[in-house]
Each structure stands twice: as structure tokens, then as C-alpha cells.
């Protein structure tokens, strides 16, 4: 059997009589992304920080490429794990390129190699070095800062990257954009990643494994579809239900509900035309905003016209909500 890149066995952390994390185990193989998810206070961040020993476990072991991390000095261990946090934490007195070069410099890479590496990373992350290398963090937008944060984590080519809600501080637009870019970073695809999030959409989009925690204990660990298809307990079901309704509204387009829409040309009056891949929620929003001017909306799919009113679409929407909450 393949040796997992990172493996946790029975991790626990207690603070006095309070147990933050108990008995968390997982194995992550090369190129996999493990998502740690759960409601706030569930112990996901504590678990992540035990991986690079920012928090010392009260019990249990972590193995990196088969080696117990206790055998390594903390700083050596951490330099082999990229670390990205929600608040980014770029050094404000360093330029973008100096920020990215921190770990390679700690590892005494030759100057030329560092310069080359920094340039390549900036290029990959869509920040042309000529324009950005000498900027200071405060001159960048939040999204750009987090890209630099990711470049910094990848700089020394660590086999493992730890991410603590890396996109949590960004506004939804920047967040989607950076996530899309993120998937396209070739280098990251081969990395073994552990990522903390509270956003189920992010978890399903990015995770090869999802570890759902509650009150410090693992509720279910498995592939995303396993969690959806066979939730291990009521908590898992409830957690997914609450979030998944949102997922579905955003995921379902008019084409998906085409069969349930009215056929034909629709009533007289101005119609608001939308492409069939318009998400249902967006269609609702657009129609509502149109007010009296567009009494109904319509869409053309494979040569067939379907039409809908605000009321009708809203009814459909409510049915979807109910189905998830039952």
C-alpha cells in the first residue's frame, strides 16, 4: 500500500477540562485535498494546526511521508509545509517578491534560483512580475494579497500545503475568481492539501476527501459523494441539508428545471429573455428586479420555448427548499 503523504492517528487536544479535538485520524495521499469542515468551534483549525505543530497535540501522532513529526525540529517541519491563512499575514515591510522568497531564503537557496522561482510563481498566479514584484502588500487588493499568500506557501516547493480558510476574508466575487484560478494552478494539483473551510460549496468544489467535524469529533470522513449519498448520522444529514439547498439553487439552471416550466409562447406583453444556463436563483432575481416591465420570462432550449412568471418560478424554488429540508 502507498505510504500516505500525511497521516494523523488519534489526534486530541485538551485545554484544561475542555476538549477541543478528540481522536481525529485521517490519511491523505499524494495529490489529494482533504477538507476539514464543520460549524464554528468544531476543532477544524485546531486539527490543522496540529499538523504543523503550531499546536502541540495532547495525544496522537502525525506522520509526514511515514515519519513521525515529533522527530523533526518544528521549524524544519514547517518549512516543508506551505501555510496559508485567512488573514493572509503578508509581511507589510517586505515587497511582494521578498514575501514570496521568505522560506527559500531560510533554506539558503541560491539567489538566482530564488529570483527565478518568484518570477515563475507570480506569472502562474496572474501577477506579472514586472508590475507586482516590487509592490508592497498594502498596494494590492485583497484577492491579489491572497494570491501572494499562496505563492509564498508554494515557494519552497513543499509537498504539503495547509490552508486555513484561505478565501474566507474575500468578497464572494473575488473568492470565486481566485478559487477558479486556484484550480488552474498546475503545481497545486500535484500537492497534498489540507484545507479548513466552513463553506460547503468550497468543500465540494475542491475536496477529494471531506472530514466533517462537530464538537471536536469526526462525524464522517469520506469522498464528497459518500457524504451526500450515505450520511453517517443525523448531524451529517442536517449539516449538508442546510447548506445544500443553497448549493442546489446556485447550481441548478433554468435548463435543469426546463421540464417543469410552462410550454408555449406565454401570455401577451413584454418578456424577459434569458439563456437556459441562467441559475434559477438569478432568474428569480432578474425577474423580480424587472417589476412591471417584464411580466414573464422565457427561455429557449433546443428550439423549444418555455416561459415562467415570478410566482411560478418562486413556487418551484420553494419545492426545492422543502425537498432538502425534509
Amino acid at each position: 500500500m502507498q505510504i500516505p503523504v500525511i497521516e494523523a492517528k488519534g489526534l486530541a487536544r485538551r485545554y484544561g477540562s475542555f476538549t477541543a479535538v478528540s481522536d481525529v485520524s485521517f490519511r491523505v495521499e499524494e495529490g489529494q485535498t482533504l477538507i476539514l469542515i464543520g460549524p464554528s468551534g468544531c476543532g477544524k483549525t485546531t486539527t490543522l494546526k496540529m499538523a504543523n505543530r503550531l499546536i502541540t497535540p495532547s495525544a496522537g501522532e502525525v506522520f509526514v511521508e511515514g515519519r513521525n513529526v515529533r522527530e523533526l525540529p518544528e521549524t524544519v517541519l514547517r518549512r516543508r509545509m506551505g501555510y496559508v491563512i485567512q488573514s493572509i499575514g503578508l509581511f507589510p515591510h517586505y515587497t511582494v517578491s521578498q514575501n514570496i522568497a521568505v522560506v527559500p531564503r531560510l533554506l539558503n537557496w541560491p539567489r538566482a534560483r530564488i529570483r527565478e522561482r518568484v518570477g515563475a510563481l507570480l506569472e502562474q498566479l496572474g501577477l506579472p512580475p514586472g508590475q507586482y514584484a516590487d509592490k508592497y502588500p498594502h498596494q494590492l487588493s485583497g484577492g491579489q494579497q491572497q494570491r501572494v499568500g499562496i505563492a509564498r506557501a508554494l515557494a519552497a516547493e513543499p509537498p504539503i500545503v495547509l490552508m486555513d480558510e484561505p478565501f474566507g476574508a474575500l468578497d464572494p466575487l473575488a473568492r470565486q475568481q481566485i478559487r477558479r484560478d486556484f484550480r488552474e494552478i498546475e503545481e497545486l494539483r500535484s500537492k497534498t492539501v489540507i484545507m479548513v473551510t466552513h463553506d460547503i460549496e468550497e468543500a465540494f468544489e475542491m475536496g477529494s476527501l471531506i472530514c466533517l467535524l462537530d464538537k471536536g469529533a469526526v462525524q464522517q470522513l469520506g469522498r464528497p459523494e459518500e457524504l451526500l449519498l450515505s450520511p453517517a448520522n443525523d448531524f451529517v444529514q442536517a449539516f449538508l441539508a442546510e447548506k445544500a439547498a443553497q448549493l442546489e439553487f446556485r447550481a441548478h439552471s433554468l435548463a435543469d428545471v426546463f421540464a417543469q416550466l410552462e410550454q408555449g409562447d406565454g401570455p401577451q406583453g413584454p418578456a424577459l429573455e434569458m439563456p437556459p444556463d441562467t441559475p434559477v436563483l438569478q432568474a428569480l432575481y432578474l425577474l423580480a428586479r424587472q417589476g412591471g416591465q417584464g411580466a414573464y420570462g422565457r427561455t429557449l432550449h433546443y428550439g423549444q420555448w418555455r416561459w415562467f412568471t415570478l410566482e411560478g418560478l418562486f413556487g418551484l424554488f420553494r419545492q426545492m427548499l422543502k425537498r432538502w429540508n425534509d
Binding site: V76, R79, G89, H93
Partner: protein, 517 residues
């Protein structure tokens, strides 16, 4: 305009002295700042790592800051003597708080996310301190150094009290001598130094982070250089070292007159008269010019050298009182004149000794004395009109104002309020003229030479005759200021040159003329 002319003239006449004082002042400021930074920055860093100690350390530094500077200097004498060491140490203590506090705050305020990221990337604690915390805290630490510098420029003026030099020599000399020009000659350069250093450091601070790092290096060179400036003017020749208070050094019958009369010269150190007795007894200086009735002469076993050539003029002591009060309350003058001629030299020395050595309170001493004369009476009335009585800042005056107060309480329906320890002659005199105080004890010699603009030939004619001096001063004060001299108390507290008894005996010193070599 005329005043300005006088001011420039004074600076021109005293330019080498001024330069020397400025260099000493700068040296004192930066030498202490250097030491303080060397202690306070590491200490500030240490308490960010051991937060439980932070409150304690900042508390202690805060308490040190609140000790009045002259008191702190006084505490230092028994431990460190006089001169540079105690001055530096006191300034060092004052500079600690702003530097510790700003180092602590600066490091505390570094964004937690930045520290977490640094730790997560595998920087060691020392690397985080060096590469992250210190550079980011630098502007705040710098602000602390700035505050400390300005505080030190101010406090360094007080170093003149303990023979460490600096611009305080002009300032306190001027206060003692009623010489505003001299005060300004010290105060203006001191203020300019404070503004200059503050602005220079502000300039560095504003010039951006990278420049601050470079500036930090420049400061590493500059501060020791500035610190060493203290030693540039030091060029003591061989000979006697003498501790002299700022008043005596500058007055017409003072050091210059003494040196002229006997044809001698000393390596002079400016010392507060409150501290000089201790300094000579410790051997920090060979000689001091003290007061002939001071109790500490006995307490510290000092020998007064005879003034065979009458270099020191007579200083008969009498209460001086504002004309308005004198007119409104003739009973005050009547009560105080009961003391006329009742306190002889030896009595006054004895009373001073009881305070300085016996540690008795001036109140007890005054009451015992009045009872021994049969003059003491219980307080006549409580809550009457109050007279403010001022005194200069030495023992004899503290006792005299107690005696005055008890006499006024006993013989008039008035109440008294004591305001002893008013700096020097000028402060007392100005307070009396402004009506802030009703009376204080003054000396005829001081009146003649310091407070009145007496022509030199008049001084010459009067100076050997105590009674004529008293009459002249009384008349001139009334005419010039409307201030009344009451009857002299009897003793003559003139200046006197004194040495340790042991040294005087060993060298066979009896008379000032023997000091000439």
C-alpha cells in the same frame, strides 16, 4: 531691543563657556540615552515574552519616572558621589520608561496574523524577532527614543546641581543671581537642543521604514559620538578642586573676587549648596564654598579656613517684608523685631546642626529656641488672615521661617502659611515683589550685591562695615522696591571656604592664603 543686545553680549562674552555647557549637555543626554536604550529595548522585548512581568516592570519604571529629579539626584550622592556618574544614572532611570513601554507596545501591536504566518512558515523565534517584530515595531520604538531624548534634554539641566555641568549651570546660576540674561543663556539653548533633537528624530521616523533601518545604523554611530561630547571640554589642570554653588560662581563678591583677593584659582565644579557638604566630606572635591553657620560643618567634620583678607562680605540676616503687609499689619514687624540680635553665629550654627545632624524637625527646634529665650507663646488665634512666609532652599531658612511663624502666631492675630524651599534668591525675591509671599529671611550681602544694582565704588566703601551695609540696603530697598528690612537677627552667615578637618590638619591648612601655590 536693549535686552536682546544684553543677551547677545552675554553669549559673546561667555561663548567658550556656552560651548562647553552645550557639549556637556548633549553628552549627558545621549550617554544616558545610550545606556537606557541598551537596557530598555531588551527589557521591553523580554516582557513581551513574559507577559506576567510586564505590568510589574512598567510599574517600576513608571514609579522611577515620578521621583522628582532633584530628589533622585540627592539619593544618588551617597551611592555614586557627584559629577557624571550620578547624573547619568538619574537620566538613565528617567529614559527607561518611554523606551520600555514603546518597545513593549510596538512589538505587542505587530499584527497577530503576520506573526502566525511567520511561525507557520518555519521562522524560529529569533528570526521572527529580527525579521518581523523589530522592523515592524521600529517606528514605535523610535517614538519612545524621541520622548526619552526630549525628557533627558530637560532633566539634564538639573545635573548642574551635582557638578555634572551642562546648561543648568547658567540656568541655576541665573536663578540664584537674579540674572534673567544668564537664565535665558542656559534655557534657550536647552530648549533649542530639545526641539532640534526631536525634529531630527522625527525626520528619521518619517523618512520611511527602509530609511529608518539605515538611520538606525547611523544612530548606532552617532549616539556614541554625541555621548562622548561630554568629555571633549574636560581639561582639568592639577590643583585644588572646589565645589561652588551657582550663585557664588556668578556674583560680584563671589568666586572671581575670592580668586582675585588671594591670587588663587581652583578647578571649580558647580554643585548645589544642598549637596556640597556631603560631596566634600566624601572627598569628591577638596574644598567647598559653604555658609559659615551651616550645621553640616559640624556634622561632616569640616574645617572653615580663615578669611584673613576679608574676601567674603558680611551677611547679616533679617526678615524682609512687603510694604503693603508691613503697613496693614504693623504688629508683624513688632513681633519679628523682638528677635533682633537674639540669634548669634554660634546659636544659629547649633540650630542648623540639630536639624542636619540631629534630624530634629525645624518646628521643634524653633519652639525649643523660643522657649529658651522666654519668647514662646501659644497660638493666639486660629483661622485669621494668613501670611505666606517663603524661604530659600537650605536648612537655616527652614528653621528661620518656623521661628517667624511661631512668633507671628504667638504675638499677632494672624495665621501663617509656610512656603519653604523656594529655589534661590531670585525666586524668593520675585515672589515677595509679586505679593505671592509676605516675607522671607534675606541677607544684607545678597541684598547689596545681588538684588540691588549697587555701583562698584559704593560696594567697596560699604563692604567691610556690616552696619553701614545694613543701613544702605534698607534704604535702597525701600526706595527701589518698597520692601522693608526688619531688624537683623544677629548672626552673620557669610560664605566660607571649608575643607575636611582631616585634610586641613594633614596639610596644616588654616587660612585661605595658604592655598596659593
Amino acid at each position: 531691543m536693549e535686552r536682546l543686545g544684553i543677551f547677545w553680549q552675554f553669549l559673546a562674552d561667555n561663548r567658550s563657556k556656552l560651548l562647553e555647557q552645550v557639549l556637556e549637555h548633549v553628552g549627558l543626554t545621549f550617554l544616558s540615552l545610550l545606556l537606557a536604550a541598551a537596557v530598555a529595548i531588551p527589557l521591553g522585548i523580554y516582557i513581551t515574552r513574559h507577559k506576567r512581568l510586564a505590568a510589574g516592570v512598567l510599574g517600576v519604571a513608571g514609579v522611577l519616572q515620578t521621583i522628582p529629579s532633584i530628589a533622585l539626584l540627592g539619593f544618588m550622592i551617597p551611592l555614586l558621589g557627584i559629577g557624571l556618574k550620578p547624573a547619568i544614572f538619574a537620566l538613565f532611570l528617567y529614559a527607561l520608561l518611554p523606551i520600555i513601554r514603546n518597545t513593549y507596545t510596538g512589538i505587542q501591536e505587530v499584527d497577530g496574523a503576520v506573526k502566525e504566518a511567520a511561525m507557520g512558515m518555519g521562522l524560529s523565534k529569533a528570526q521572527i524577532l529580527r525579521q518581523v517584530e523589530l522592523p515592524l515595531a521600529l517606528p514605535v520604538i523610535f517614538a519612545g527614543l524621541r520622548t526619552a531624548t526630549v525628557i533627558n534634554v530637560g532633566v539634564a539641566a538639573l545635573a548642574a546641581y551635582i557638578g555634572a555641568g551642562g546648561l543648568g549651570e547658567f540656568i541655576f546660576g541665573g536663578i540664584a543671581l537674579n540674572n534673567s540674561t544668564m537664565i535665558l543663556a542656559g534655557a534657550i539653548p536647552a530648549a533649542l537642543l530639545a526641539v532640534l533633537f526631536d525634529q531630527l528624530l522625527a525626520l528619521l521616523q518619517r523618512s520611511g521604514r527602509l530609511q529608518v533601518l539605515k538611520a538606525g545604523r547611523a544612530l548606532l554611530i552617532l549616539i556614541p559620538l554625541l555621548s562622548s561630547s561630554y568629555f571633549w571640554p574636560q581639561a582639568y589642570g592639577p590643583g585644588w578642586t572646589a565645589g561652588i554653588d551657582p550663585e557664588f560662581i556668578g556674583r560680584p563678591d563671589g568666586y572671581a573676587h575670592l580668586a582675585d583677593t588671594y591670587g588663587i584659582s581652583f578647578n571649580t565644579t558647580i554643585l548645589s549648596s544642598a549637596l556640597m557638604y556631603k560631596a566634600v566630606s566624601r572627598g569628591d572635591v577638596d574644598l567647598i564654598v559653604g555658609y559659615s553657620t551651616d550645621g553640616r560643618i559640624k556634622a561632616y567634620q569640616l574645617a572653615v579656613l580663615e578669611d584673613s583678607r576679608h574676601a567674603f562680605p558680611p551677611y547679616y540676616c533679617a526678615p524682609v517684608i512687603g510694604a503693603e503687609v508691613a503697613e496693614k499689619h504693623p504688629e508683624v514687624a513688632a513681633a519679628l523685631n523682638l528677635l533682633a540680635g537674639r540669634i548669634s553665629d554660634s546659636v544659629m550654627t547649633e540650630l542648623n546642626y540639630r536639624a542636619d545632624f540631629g534630624k530634629e524637625s525645624p518646628q521643634t527646634i524653633a519652639r525649643d529656641f523660643l522657649e529658651s529665650l522666654g519668647l514662646w507663646r501659644p497660638d493666639q488665634a486660629q483661622g485669621g488672615e494668613r501670611l505666606d512666609i517663603g524661604s530659600k532652599i537650605f536648612t537655616e531658612q527652614y528653621i528661620l521661617v518656623e521661628i517667624f511663624s511661631q512668633m507671628i502666631n504667638g504675638y499677632t492675630g494672624l495665621d501663617t502659611n509656610l512656603r519653604p524651599g523656594l529655589g534661590g534668591t531670585k525666586i524668593c525675591f520675585d515672589a515677595l515683589r509679586a505679593g505671592e509671599i509676605a516675607l522671607y529671611p534675606e541677607y544684607t550681602g545678597t541684598g547689596l550685591l545681588v538684588l540691588l544694582d549697587t555701583p562698584a565704588d559704593t560696594v567697596e566703601a560699604l563692604i567691610d562695615n556690616p552696619d553701614a551695609t545694613y543701613r544702605y540696603v534698607r534704604r535702597a530697598f525701600d526706595a527701589s522696591y518698597g520692601i522693608q528690612w526688619l531688624e537683623p537677627l544677629g548672626f552673620n552667615n557669610t560664605y566660607a571656604l571649608m575643607a575636611r578637618q582631616e585634610m586641613a590638619k594633614r596639610l596644616g591648612l588654616k587660612d585661605i592664603s595658604q592655598l596659593k601655590r
